[in-house]
Assembly symmetry: C2
Homo-oligomer: 154 residues x 2
């Protein structure tokens, strides 16, 4: 069981923006900080913009920033956008399930309860909580404290 | 996020054995009931035997049965055996993680807490709980109530 790369990097983009709250962030700098391709970052960015977590500012000095306070975006909000599915078992997708036990066994009930407990914890953590150690985050991400731009990308 | 097929069918093998508690179960019948290949079932069976959940009885009238009471085997016990990994994010595997934030952000903490809440629910459900509706389970799996053999495989 694991979360997708979309979730992993979706959270990281939001954390970058939350850390760099004095300026706009450039996707090039974010990609460089995390050592991944810009194309991959752009792909994830699209769903974050669509979900209303991030807004883009066009132009030569453009970039991206959070579209709402970091304390308003929970990990659950993000995961619901970046994970394709939460099909714990075949019977979570009634249309395709062909398990003969679908209406008789308690697997579905137990897994739904477990998944809800998982979601419940994620709903208690916001992007602001994730970047609590803002000063060390800035250093690690190479964000300049005054300018809000990548001064020393890792 | 989803569980592996190994978990899905590992649970189903155990549920079949728990339902058919008057006799030995044949892997051929189990595979037929669930509409999957015997080879796939044998592969999963190996890990269930190794974990001490199932024992095999050799011979012409041989088969498999639970090696311990169904009420003693929790879903968490099974999932720990059948899932390869619970790497919620890259930083769950410190050896391979190259995220610059590994020691500064709270993602790992939040995801571990969420995963533990998930595990906690699974530890409260046993194989016996999953086959609570034993009579309808027998019908659905085609298990004969007296003989304990597949009388009418689906």
């Amino acid at each position: 069981m694991r979360l997708t790369k979309q979730t992993n990097y979706g959270l990281r983009i939001l954390m970058y923006c939350a850390t760099n709250d004095v300026g706009l962030s450039r996707i090039q700098d974010i990609a460089k900080s995390y050592g991944v391709s810009e194309t991959f970052m752009f792909k994830i960015l699209q769903s974050l913009v669509k979900a209303g977590f991030v807004e883009t500012v066009r132009g030569r000095n453009g970039g991206i920033k959070l579209a709402q306070p970091a304390a308003n975006i929970t990990m659950l909000n993000v995961v619901k956008v970046t994970e394709d599915q939460f099909l714990m078992a075949e019977c979570f997708d009634a249309e395709f399930a062909d398990c003969p036990l679908i209406d008789a066994c308690n697997v579905n009930k137990a897994l739904r309860e477990a998944l809800n407990a998982f979601f419940d914890v994620l709903s208690r953590y916001t992007i602001a909580d994730l970047v609590e150690n803002r000063v060390s985050m800035m250093t690690l991400l190479g964000i300049d404290a005054v300018e809000g731009v990548a001064s020393n990308p890792v």
